[in-house]
Subunit: 319 residues, 2 copies
Amino acid sequence: MSELVDSLIGMDQFAIGVDLGGTNLRAAAVSASGEMIEKVAASTDLTQGPERVVDDICACIASVRDRQRGRRLAGVGIGVPGFIRIAEGFIVGSHNLPPLNNYPIRDAIEKRLGTPVVLENDANAAAMGEKWMGAGRDVDDLVLLTLGTGIGGGIISHGRVLHGFVGMAGELGHLTVVPNGNPCGCGNVGCLEKHASATAIESMANLMALGDHLSAKDVYDLAVSGEERAVRIFESMGQALGIAIAMLVNVFNYPLYLMSGGALAAWDFFYPALEKEVRWRSFSYRNTHTRIAKAELGSEAGLYGAAYLPLQAQKAQDS
Amino acid sequence: MSELVDSLIGMDQFAIGVDLGGTNLRAAAVSASGEMIEKVAASTDLTQGPERVVDDICACIASVRDRQRGRRLAGVGIGVPGFIRIAEGFIVGSHNLPPLNNYPIRDAIEKRLGTPVVLENDANAAAMGEKWMGAGRDVDDLVLLTLGTGIGGGIISHGRVLHGFVGMAGELGHLTVVPNGNPCGCGNVGCLEKHASATAIESMANLMALGDHLSAKDVYDLAVSGEERAVRIFESMGQALGIAIAMLVNVFNYPLYLMSGGALAAWDFFYPALEKEVRWRSFSYRNTHTRIAKAELGSEAGLYGAAYLPLQAQKAQDS
């Protein structure tokens, strides 16, 4: 896929990928062949309303764009936390970017910069990045789980982000893994992200009276030091992830399931329980060469993936 | 989609859809515009080995084909219970057709009849049928659950069957809905089909001491007569289905989730619990116009869908 894009649109092209978080704003210029040319970090001020956020984003993009002399900008991709309404180009239900909910952010930036803008959920962008230049570059279909304070999901199907009919597909942090489990802000109980995120690890440590106000990193350090309850917490996390991944294998029969995020540091503590659970719960997993692996691009996956989106859109237009 | 096929390949074409079960064999001639021209039923004798089954299938197909004078046969689609290995064209892990497991059935029939043959999982074929001529004809993406002695699943994505990388996608009967639930022949516990199929209903009736050797139909009749435990069984079935469908909505954000099978008779008993569960467990469901509905084609869905597959394959080749 990436070779095809290269040959179609030429090596002098680039795109800008943006990762917009609740506090941080990053942008990167990425060549059509997937080389990250330049990366900048800035911040977003959410207290002054959506126009101010748009100002910040546009300034950040412009600073990167203006330094790419001799290259042609294909467009801008922006990864954001929250549900995306693709057709309308705005965000709904984002806890991290409340002033942007229902604001026409895509059109506002497009108009200001005069270049095509693609809005995408941040986990979808990360999944696209891993498919383009990371652990998924050899497959056309994959699922990514981003393990952080919450859990996000991105699904790549035939080389493209699976969106569903309004753009809300891939909400994998809200798969029910314990029908009567921990309550979630989404209204459900037993969501994957309430049993396997950093927040869930901290909550389990608290319930186990392992210490006061421990961070997920503290719990990890305790596991390393041999504290059995901390080890048990990561096993529980692995089981929850395994239930979810087994279901995804049964649904998709895709060749690759990736995980990313800070929690990968604890891989050796949670992965054995995860793999055991998937093996147990999925006939397809036991009978096909299905891989469960670490993502490779770290926090840059979203920048690569966001940058790839306008390149891919242009390729689709050209063909 | 169906209009496009019509215009491309002409109204004089037809295809044959076959539904191959453990005891029954059905075949239908379907025109390119989706009119069922003729339908025949036969039986399969599994005791004499795979060659004999191929004989039976070919005789059944030939009898239908030979009566369609003046029409051109586009090909044959065959829906079978079990996992399909698409590339190889054979069945694996079928409990209903053990002699056919790992036998090159597609190539054997293709060679014998001299026409293209497409092999497909029966639930996938039914989903394709509903998309072509049934409850899903107005959408490009849908999920179908077939509720019978087991539970099958079929996923239509962008108008095509979602196969995964070897053809095992859509095993929705084996989604875990109760992590420590009823054991399943697949090796898992708590599979949807162990909590919501006809077999599950009978098992629940037995556990509730509702009567000796009650069939699912008997349990339904008891529910109609006001027996509270029988009513409770269908609520439990609805909850299990709701947990699974909520997850599917969160994964796919598709507009339509269909159910088919004899259990639809009990719709009024299980659907309220199902819908409540989905509403509770899926933010996407609450915030988009997602439909959960009865399939429309009954046991003919698989015949329509199987017949559509060679027409669709030809269209893809022609374009």
